[in-house]
């Protein structure tokens, strides 16, 4: 594979601003080459190396679901060199993609189980992918009950408002939205994610909890889930790490002997407990 480090070229099809502060945008890419699109077979939870050619590369989780054909979506927060450049780019600009990389959510193993999706803030992108995937008409009956708990600082920070509205209308998903502080016009839950999870108290029987969010949220939520008798194997987590190559060669994303880009980014709590605490 001489193309290991060569990005596939895409064009930006649309840019959606996701929050009030305007530092999170969702980009939709279409491949310039049809073969590339055919080869880009991914599962929710995988990531890709996006590059603004000439500026650099960064790993971003895929926000679209494989069931949404024709394009891929990424939600990018303005943080460093490359992501800032993304926020400067316009529709039609050329962007390189390498991927899909990483293991992704174990959608096959999750079949027949109840799914509890717990997300906080900006980390919801791959969870959106997962939810969308499960909700697709081909897949919905393969999974049990779907609960989505999504917390944010305030209503302005809530991502994917369009999708959330769509999901809310369906009866095969329990959608719980929460914000940290009370706000005028907000009719849904108020409070941090962990207490809300406790309130909703999803059953741990034949269920899998998927948790993504800021470290403190993960820590508190996992404590709650353990209270609800979720086993270590039943809690899934997606990690972030600094990456360059995305294919396990550049060396920097290792936690112990595991590379986040190859063996991750999705780890079960049981796996994480075996790894040294260096993430």
């Amino acid at each position: 594979m001489l193309d290991l480090y060569i990005p596939m070229l895409t064009n930006i099809k649309s840019i959606t601003s996701e929050n009030k502060v305007n530092d999170i945008k969702t980009f939709e890419f279409v491949f310039q080459n049809d073969d590339d699109l055919k080869n880009f077979n991914y599962v929710p939870g995988q990531f890709a190396e996006l590059s603004i050619i000439g500026k650099g590369e960064c790993p971003i989780g895929i926000a679209s679901s494989p069931t949404e054909e024709g394009s891929v979506k990424f939600t990018i927060k303005k943080m460093g060199t490359v992501t800032s450049q993304f926020h400067k780019s316009e529709v039609g600009d050329v962007v390189g993609i390498r991927g899909p990389l990483g293991n992704g959510w174990p959608v096959e193993d999750m079949k027949g189980k109840d799914i509890v999706v717990i997300g906080g803030g900006f980390a919801f992108s791959t969870l959106r992918s997962l939810t969308e995937y499960i909700l697709h008409k081909d897949n919905r009956d393969k999974y049990g009950k779907l609960t989505v708990i999504y917390g944010n600082r305030d209503s302005g920070e809530t991502l994917y408002k369009f999708d959330l509205e769509k999901w809310e209308k369906r009866d095969d998903i329990e959608l719980v939205l929460t914000i940290d502080r009370e706000e005028e016009g907000w009719t849904k839950k108020v409070g941090f994610v962990a207490p809300v999870v406790k309130e909703v108290s999803p059953s741990s029987k034949n269920a899998i909890a998927v948790v993504c969010g800021p470290p403190i949220m993960i820590k508190t939520t996992i404590a709650v889930l353990e209270e609800l008798e979720f086993g270590d194997e039943q809690i899934l987590n997606s990690l972030e790490m600094r990456m360059k190559c995305g294919v396990g060669k550049c060396g920097r994303c290792n936690i112990g002997n595991k590379y986040v880009c190859l063996d991750g980014p999705v780890f079960s709590l049981a796996e994480l407990k075996k790894l040294p605490n260096e993430y």
């Binding site: 050329v94 360059k244 060396g251 936690i255 112990g256």
Partner: protein, 352 residues
């Protein structure tokens, strides 16, 4: 195949013949440092040397390497893949430890689903024509790591220095082919071979450092938060000398360079090291390996614990470069001895 003899005075002839087909790399004295450089004239070759300062990994994994170039035309971008390198290389005079490092590198870059062809192509086209170490250094400890100053398995052609001549033994098939091509070589006599064996034994006895590393990696893993790491890393300054010049270190950084005046650019990889704080710094400001304690630990564990677990190989060849080059004399042998002591203590308590 029969061992051959090549006299030192015949080296120019050898170089002349091999440079016809191959790019000939040989140890060269560059301002007092021995480095493996491209050589066309046999006069440039430095045959009297202990080991090179820059490991020969530089030939197959250069300090900087273009991953692709591109040209920009308005908003459009066209990517040009790097040309497949067809040059055939010979590394003359490579030492057994460095030859073994090639095995490790190849294993690493070839591991798993993703194969790094930038490296593998170069490796495939590289022939190792090594020389046994008659006089290993004090800092050498290859015998503790399944190596030997006369280990020939990792090379294509192996030579033993007998003062005025070399005993040449072809090892791999390509090596045999090359030796067959050099029809003017004379067969080695029995006494030469005997002398070579004698030298090998002598060299082995000269290696003074013996470390017990073989089975300690499981143990190392469990010592993740031992205070020993603080002790080891206290004086480390966080420069990259040890890993930049390590024959088995493979980490790289990826950078983009744009020549905006000519509408072109390139993406390249350059050597990087886990000893830099920037290496694992997240954009958010969080750094999983924030201090020299974690960084030193990562280096040691990567070589002696993660490598064995992942690939069944120890990620060190015992060349001793990091020992010689560390500015604060943070001696790897001492570190390993300290770790060994802890292990022994632990075993004792378990037995007791």
């Amino acid at each position: 195949m029969q061992e051959k003899i090549i006299f030192k005075k015949e080296i120019p002839k050898l170089v002349k013949e091999l440079t016809k087909e191959y790019v000939f790399y040989a140890p060269k004295n560059v301002k007092g440092n021995i480095e493996y450089k491209r050589v066309n004239n046999s006069k440039d070759i430095e045959l009297e040397f202990l080991n090179s300062k820059v490991p020969p990994k530089e030939i197959v994994f250069p300090r900087m390497e273009t991953m692709f170039t591109y040209t920009r035309n308005g908003k459009n971008i066209e990517i040009q893949k790097p040309k497949k390198v067809e040059d055939k290389n010979i590394i003359f005079g490579i030492r057994p430890c460095d030859a073994h490092s090639f095995v490790l590198l190849e294993h690493f870059f070839n591991f798993g689903e993703f194969k790094d062809d930038l490296f593998l192509n170069k490796r495939k086209n590289t022939i190792l024509m090594g020389i046994g170490c008659n006089t290993p250094r004090n800092t050498c400890f290859c015998t503790s790591l399944e190596g030997h100053p006369f280990k020939k398995d990792d090379m294509d052609i192996f030579m033993v220095d007998l003062d005025d001549r070399y005993v040449v033994s072809p090892i791999s098939d390509t090596g045999k082919e090359i030796i067959e091509g050099l029809s003017w070589l004379v067969d080695a006599k029995e006494e030469d071979l005997e002398k070579a064996i004698e030298l090998s034994k002598k060299a082995e006895s000269m290696i003074s450092t013996t470390l017990e590393i073989q089975d300690s990696y499981d143990f190392l893993d469990s010592q993740f938060s031992d205070p020993i790491w603080k002790e080891i890393s206290e004086t480390c300054m966080g420069c990259g000398s040890c890993s930049f010049l390590c024959p088995t270190c493979t980490c790289f950084d990826v950078i983009d360079e744009e020549d905006q005046y000519n509408n072109r650019g390139r993406r390249m990889r350059i050597w990087d090291t886990c000893q830099f704080c920037l290496y694992s710094l997240h954009t958010s400001g969080h750094n999983p390996r924030d201090s020299s304690i974690e960084r030193c630990r990562n280096r040691i564990l990567h070589k002696f614990s993660y490598y064995p677990t992942n690939y069944n190989l120890i990620g060190c060849v015992g060349c001793g470069r990091c020992i010689q080059l560390c500015p604060v004399n943070n001696d790897l042998r001492v570190i390993l001895k300290k770790l060994n002591e802890i292990q022994k203590k632990e075993e004792k308590t378990i037995v007791a």
